[in-house]
């Protein structure tokens, strides 16, 4: 990544490499200091890490930390799968059929600005606080970006590709399968990437409001009981999984879409 201020043959001073390390160290130091001032409110970094290991490897509760992690992941993956399939389908319909787009898209545009979290009360009223509700909320969060990005692919597809295919003898079916779908595939992937992090966000939110297991549930229970340690551990996990999911998806992108 070429840095804007580095002009040409600029050599970075050696001590620049230490800056990230210094930064993290400073962060930990501030944390530690704040914890020492407030032992009741804030555990130190060391205590947090130790607690994390304890919870992972020596669980004392009936539902272990890993159980919570899996509960959250499971919900996201189911919702994400459903959202991707139906989202691509709807996006393609919007792009392929002008009539369908004209009639149905305004309804989508009306519902789109509503944050998925705002759907939670309504969904809970309809589906109770079971698995279905949480999957439904994740679904909404993931569905919207997939549709938006898929449709955007249609509007930005270079028309020359379509003309070229037509003169090469393509029929409608060929246009869709050989040109349009591969052509918008990068857009679909972009939508899926956003959808994945949106889904993770929604599952945590949904669990914080109505669940009996899951990382969101863990963090809200800990808030109610004032257990800062658990909150921090859950936070670390939530953040880490989010980062891992993004990372895995980027790797997947390179494999699936070599062009």
């Amino acid at each position: 990544m070429k840095h804007t201020s580095s002009h040409g043959s600029f050599q970075e001073p050696w001590w620049w490499k230490l800056l990230p390390v210094a930064s993290v160290a400073l962060f930990l130091a501030v944390w530690h200091g704040a914890a020492l001032c407030n032992p009741a409110m804030l555990p130190t970094p060391v205590e947090t890490i130790r607690s994390l290991f304890d919870m992972l490897f020596f669980p004392t509760t009936q539902i272990t930390l890993l159980d919570h992690v899996w509960a959250s992941l499971r919900r996201v993956l189911i919702a994400y799968g459903l959202a991707t399939l139906s989202g691509v389908l709807l996006g393609v319909l919007f792009g392929w059929s002008r009539n369908f787009h004209d009639f149905v898209y305004p309804i989508f545009e009306l519902l789109r600005p509503i944050p998925p979290i705002a759907w939670i009360p309504l969904i809970i009223m309809w589906l109770g606080i079971g698995e279905g509700a949480k999957i439904a909320i994740c679904f909404i969060g993931s569905f919207i970006p997939v549709v938006v990005n898929t449709f955007f692919g249609f509007t930005t597809l270079d028309r020359t590709y379509l003309k070229a295919a037509q003169v090469l003898g393509a029929r409608q079916k060929d246009l869709l399968l050989e040109v349009v779908l591969p052509g918008i595939f990068p857009n679909i992937l972009a939508g899926m990437k956003v959808a994945l992090s949106a889904g993770w966000l929604c599952v945590i939110a949904a669990e914080m409001i109505a669940a009996r297991e899951g990382l969101g549930y863990l963090i809200v229970r800990s808030m109610e009981s004032g257990n800062m340690l658990n909150i921090l551990v859950a936070l670390i996990f939530i953040g880490s999984i989010s980062a891992i999911l993004s990372f895995l998806f980027s790797k997947l992108e390179k494999v699936v879409c070599p062009w």
Partner: protein, 261 residues
């Protein structure tokens, strides 16, 4: 086979900003002789691409028709087109790109891959079958596009300023390549260009397309000049002079006024 193609009375107008119609082509008429190399020469933005798209069946003309020798209208199945922007599908390898028109015709995989290989060899790109277009230079991409157009195995080939995006050196090479392929494959070719040198090097006939709205303003027959041509040949230089002086803005306007009577 299509034989000679008659282009009659083609007119096309587009909605203009602020209402009304903006005519781009008016009463375009000419004949495309079987197996000839016809060049349409004219400045940029005069409607050449619109004419090409009408010939290719991508756009419908407001008036006029394009007919084959037997009187039936020309259809997209009779022709193929090479675009200035190559339009190679980046998600397909070179081989897959070239094999595509055969895939649309329903030719089975093994057969079409063999044929595609042959066409890639024809354009001198053997060894690049499994590369993606993004790994190729501009000239190479255009060669793949040409191979792909020929792979449709149709009698008429349209070239819309195919070398406009290339540097001068590559352009010369590609012009020679195209000539070689045309002489070998014996298909009818219509090529649009705004380069007078390209027109003189390649064409059996040169039709000058210009004006607003555009129409065919003059025709030059080069069939007597031997190939391969040299741009410094006496006759060619004379012709170049003639065409350029006739194609100046004033004389074109003049001809338009005369033609409209």
């Amino acid at each position: 086979m299509v034989g000679d193609i008659c282009v009659r009375g083609i007119g096309k107008a587009f909605p203009a900003e602020g209402g009304g119609l903006h005519p781009v082509l008016e009463h375009v008429e000419f004949v495309i002789h079987d197996k000839e190399f016809l060049v349409l020469f004219g400045p940029s933005q005069c409607g050449k691409t619109v004419l090409m798209e009408i010939l290719a069946g991508l756009t419908a003309p407001d008036s006029g028709s394009i007919q084959r020798e037997d009187g039936t209208p020309l259809s997209t199945g009779d022709l193929c087109m090479v675009f200035q922007k190559y339009a190679l599908f980046p998600w397909k390898t070179c081989l897959e790109n070239v094999a595509l028109p055969m895939k649309f015709r329903g030719i089975p995989r093994r057969a079409r891959q063999e044929k595609a290989m042959a066409f890639l060899e024809l354009v001198g790109l053997k060894g690049f079958e499994h590369k993606y277009p993004r790994h190729l230079s501009g000239g190479m991409k255009q060669r793949v596009a040409i191979a792909r157009a020929y792979a449709k195995e149709c009698p008429l080939l349209l070239f819309d300023e195919p070398f406009g995006a290339l540097d001068a050196q590559t352009r010369l090479q590609m012009e020679e390549e195209l000539l070689r392929i045309w002489q070998r494959e014996q298909k009818t070719v219509v090529l649009i260009t705004n380069s007078i040198d390209e027109a003189l090097l390649l064409g059996d006939r040169i039709l000058v397309l210009d004006g607003a709205p555009a129409s065919i303003l003059s025709e030059y027959d080069l069939r007597d000049l031997p190939r391969p041509r040299s741009l410094s040949h006496r006759d060619i230089l004379a012709l170049r002079q003639t065409i350029l002086s006739n194609s100046s803005l004033d004389s074109n306007r003049q001809k338009e006024v005369e033609r409209r009577g």
